[in-house]
């Protein structure tokens, strides 16, 4: 068994408003010198540390956990899962 860090990023689906991201963009970043930024989205990140035989299994198990326990609400959110060796 190997140990992996699995990062789950939960963000709003396109079309769901993200007033926090909009505020950071419009009232912080664009008021500075960085005018090339066009979009900022906020997200929640969960880091799972898990022991599994390989990366694929680790990702699959974490996806299963997220779906079963409603770690994200699929009506308004999407997740992306990234797996890293420790």
């Amino acid at each position: 068994m190997r140990t992996f860090n699995v990062y789950v990023t939960i963000e709003n689906k396109p079309g769901i408003s993200d007033p926090e991201g909009d505020t950071i963009l419009n009232d912080l970043v664009l008021k500075g010198t960085h005018k090339t930024v066009t979009k900022i989205k906020t997200a929640k990140m969960l880091k799972f540390t898990i022991k599994e035989k390989d990366k694929k299994t680790a990702k699959s198990i974490v996806q299963e956990i997220c779906d079963e326990l409603r770690i994200y609400n699929s009506m308004v959110s999407i997740i992306s899962i990234d797996v890293f060796d420790i």
Partner: protein, 226 residues
């Protein structure tokens, strides 16, 4: 007329609700800790407001996995009236008993103010004593009170008469200004505003009678009053 008030770690409106049920409306109310079962012969169940599990991960989602929710679901299937207020509404949504989701208010602020509700469905166990479109002055107190449904779900809610309360004006960005909904059978109702803080004239600066009708409706539903 046994009414259960479910208590989760972090509930903080349970005592207000218990007080109103027992001292104002003479229900026989009892607290039920979230790890304990609910009796089968209960007449109604109320999930009060608060911050169950500190709103961690998402308001209501962890409480929605509590053992008692299995019993709440069974009772809901039998047609027993279930009311979720504020965090209770969030828990009902996260448990799948009600459609939609509650997001952070557009202002990103915790909002604590008096607003007006409009009754859109007067057929539920908690609204049967209202006239349709009657207004209710009532307080809100939440940070994640923006009710959201996608367009298709909104169409279905309208078609099946599941929108119970709407705000009289834009308050927090909720879809269609929705403040409360019910399930398809109408016996499970969730609402963000706090009726338990509005039924006594001492603490209601406008009119306590409309909010009282929420509890009067339940008395009529379970046959205590005509």
């Amino acid at each position: 007329m046994n009414v259960g008030v479910v208590v989760f770690p972090g509930s903080n409106c349970d005592r207000d609700m218990y007080h109103v049920l027992t001292d104002v409306f003479n229900f026989n109310a009892q607290y039920y800790w979230h790890e304990k079962p609910l009796p089968k012969n209960i007449d109604a169940v109320i999930l009060p407001g608060g911050f169950s599990y500190g709103d961690r991960l998402r308001a209501g989602v962890i409480a929605a996995h509590s053992p008692i929710i299995k019993d709440v679901k069974k009772l809901a299937e039998k047609g027993i009236p279930i009311l979720g207020v504020c965090n209770g509404f969030q828990i009902l949504v996260e448990s799948g008993l009600l459609p939609g989701v509650l997001l952070k208010n557009d202002s990103l602020n915790f909002m604590c103010e008096w607003i007006n509700l409009i009754v859109e469905n007067n057929k539920t166990p908690f609204t049967n004593q209202f006239k349709l479109h009657e207004e209710i002055p009532i307080p809100i107190a939440n940070g994640e009170g923006k009710y959201y449904v996608d367009d298709e779900t909104l169409k279905q809610l309208k078609k099946k008469n599941q929108i119970v309360f709407r705000y009289s004006k834009v308050v927090n960005g909720s879809s269609n200004r929705i403040a409360g909904v019910c399930n398809e059978d109408g016996n499970v109702v969730g609402m963000m505003p706090h009726p338990e803080r509005a039924v006594e004239s001492e603490i209601n600066p406008v009119d306590n009678k409309p909010s009282s009708l929420i509890f009067e409706s339940l008395l009529v539903k379970i046959g205590v009053r005509n």
